[in-house]
């Protein structure tokens, strides 16, 4: 039987393979900056910056029906306009109109108008491309900023807030978002994990990206990955596959929920924890939080005083956005209670697949890897000769079970 540590290395290798490559990272960075320069040159004063997984270093390749899909990378395009003196409709459309003035961007621009963004499609030479999602926005108004401050957000963080646009039934609305403050919050927790054994990790990274970077100093921080970031990537990918299999993709927990909970659990933990030690801690906490489903609010807070990330109060779920005290990330769980139910089912399966599986028989373990990462991908990424694995037989007849 292959040793636990070596199995962990194999899982890590597979998850690393779903991360954005150094080449694509550089390419995507160049491209989004070029979009910013272009818009400026056209007289549209703006600031363009990454948000979401690309800015947090938690990108995983999307899983769509076991096919390798293109990466979706999100960028905020913050126009130099005053929110009170413009409209959401203008902000959303002026970005598109300006992009369409260029033949290059017009060709890449997807016709579909999403509720919050425009998509530019970039095909890659090796087959895997990426999409740049551009989210038009303006700086948030003083009024909103002050109300955030009065809800106990720091002045500094509140001032980073933007108003993005949201199109619903042909009408445009403003929605508050604060990706820069979120990034600061996430980085403050991630920092010690990133610093741990950093030089060593950067050296390994350099080995992998020799063709792009000449020295350790050249490697951008955005390519580094801590244990915390890897844990989030493992969870996100496992979620994608699991919800696809159970055919409940509409109930998937958002990446914001996963990232927020993991960071809160990791807060203040020993930075030398490796990926699987940290994943174990996260899984243990998930199990505790799942008891929110059966215990009363009082019983739960009495038994687990320090566990406050996922709360249940007056029958409602709460996972607070750390940079917006008015934003409950679990709002949709309250509209659809199945979401919470499946969330706790999922984390249980995740624990079984990513942690408990390290002790099962080789053949069963390889089957798990294949089911979670795809058979072809596993075959080309790790050496299966290390495992006592027997090639499976393909099922040809598919009778549907029945009962009298």
């Amino acid at each position: 039987m292959r040793k636990k540590e070596l199995r962990q290395q194999d899982i890590l290798r597979l998850i690393e393979g779903l991360d954005i490559s150094p080449t694509m990272y550089k390419n995507a960075t160049d491209k989004y900056k070029a979009v910013g320069t272009y818009l400026q040159d056209q007289g549209l004063a703006c600031d363009i910056f990454p948000q979401g997984s690309f800015s947090l270093g938690t990108v995983v390749r999307p899983y769509r029906e076991s096919k390798e899909a293109d990466y979706d990378l999100d960028f905020i395009c913050c126009l130099d306009e005053q929110k009170e003196k413009t409209t959401a409709s203008y902000v959303k459309n002026v970005v598109k109109d300006t992009l369409c003035k260029s033949e290059v961007y017009k060709e890449k621009l997807l016709d579909t108008e999403w509720d919050k963004c425009w998509t530019l499609e970039y095909a890659e030479v090796n087959g895997i491309g990426f999409n740049i999602d551009i989210v038009p926005s303006v700086s948030e108004s003083d009024e909103v900023i002050q109300s955030m401050v009065s809800s106990k957000l720091s002045q500094e963080d509140a001032e980073l807030a933007v108003a993005i646009t949201d199109k619903r039934n042909q009408n445009y609305f403003w929605v508050t978002s604060n990706p820069r403050a979120y990034k600061n919050w996430f980085e403050s927790i991630n920092r010690p994990f990133l610093e741990y054994d950093r030089q060593n990790k950067r050296r390994v990274l350099l080995e992998k990206s020799r063709t792009i970077y000449n020295s350790i100093e050249d490697i951008p921080e955005g390519l580094e990955r801590s244990s915390l970031q890897r844990v989030i990537q493992i969870l996100k990918h496992h979620r994608d596959v699991y919800y696809c299999r159970i055919r409940k993709e509409n109930l998937k927990p958002t990446s914001a929920i996963i990232t927020t909970i993991c960071a809160e659990i990791a807060y203040g933990m020993d930075p030398s924890l490796n990926v699987f030690e940290l994943l174990q801690i996260v899984a243990n906490d998930f199990e505790i939080y799942s008891r929110n489903q059966t215990l009363t609010e009082e019983e739960f807070s009495r038994q687990y005083q320090s566990k406050k990330t996922i709360r249940k109060s007056n029958g409602k779920w709460y996972i607070m956005n750390p940079v917006n005290p008015k934003d409950n990330l679990a709002d949709s769980w309250n509209d659809d209670p199945e979401k919470a139910e499946f969330f706790f089912k999922w984390v249980k399966v995740m624990r079984k697949d990513c942690l408990d599986s390290l002790q099962i028989e080789d053949n069963d373990f390889v089957a798990l890897l294949e089911n979670n990462f795809g058979r072809d991908y596993v075959k080309k990424s790790i050496n299966l000769n290390h495992y006592a694995s027997v090639a499976p037989t393909i099922i040809t007849n598919t009778p549907k079970p029945w009962r009298k």
């Binding site: 699991y242 159970i246 069963d364 294949e370 795809g374 009962r403």
Partner: protein, 222 residues
């Protein structure tokens, strides 16, 4: 009647872990069956301790299958109360055994897919290739798939044909396509006739008619 010696030898060869006992007129195959199968890129593994009973009047009566070491949750919806697997609709099994009485291929085509379905359901809470409704409806669904038609009315007409008429290639196909039988459902109707599904089709039609009358009566009372 009963399983042939050649078939017994084939089972011995393919499943050496099975113990074979003759019990009165029945043959009982029991032992470990290893599941290591893939469907649509998802692989399921597991070990089951099976008991397959091939009755003395096989293939008139079908083999039954049980798991002996509690590897199947007793609440699994496709298990009979006596622990036997609900493998497929009766009509489907009758069709199968009319063409093939090899127990190895029965294991491969029905027992293994059943165990795969079970493991998949345990893992993901859904059936990898769907399930049939319980009872008569499941039979009808099977026939609809078998005849590859879209309308229930077509299923009804084809069943009526199976129950009442004999096969003649030049008459119009009961499915209503306007084509001659030999150019339409000819092949499948021959198989259905060979499998002697007439009685089953008649019974289903009668049951449906009774159901219809019951509903009509209740409607009047109200």
């Amino acid at each position: 009647m009963g399983i042939g010696t050649h078939d017994i030898e084939m089972v011995k060869k393919q499943y050496p872990a099975f113990e074979i006992i003759k019990c009165e007129n029945d043959y009982v195959f029991s032992g470990e069956l290893i599941l290591n199968h893939v469907f649509d890129n998802v692989r399921m593994t597991g070990k089951f301790n099976l008991e397959i009973v091939v009755p003395g009047d096989f293939p008139l009566a079908f083999p039954t299958v049980k798991e002996l070491s509690n590897c199947i949750d007793e609440n699994y919806p496709h298990l009979y109360e006596n622990g036997q697997f609900c493998l497929a609709s009766n009509l489907e099994l009758k069709m199968f055994f009319s063409q093939d009485t090899d127990i190895c291929s029965f294991i491969e085509k029905y027992v293994i897919p059943y165990l795969y379905t079970y493991r998949f359901y345990e893992e993901y809470g859904v059936y990898p290739y769907g399930e049939r409704s319980h009872g008569i409806m499941g039979d009808l669904e099977y026939l609809k798939d078998l005849f590859e038609v879209d309308e229930w009315g077509q299923v009804w007409n084809i069943m009526l044909f199976v129950a009442q008429s004999s096969y003649r290639g030049h008459i119009l196909c009961p499915c209503g396509s306007g084509k001659k039988i030999r150019n339409c459902h000819g092949e499948i109707l021959k198989k259905v006739k060979n499998a002697e599904l007439q009685d089953e089709c008649r019974a289903i039609l009668l049951e449906l008619a009774r159901e219809h009358d019951r509903k009509a009566k209740n409607g009047k009372c109200n």
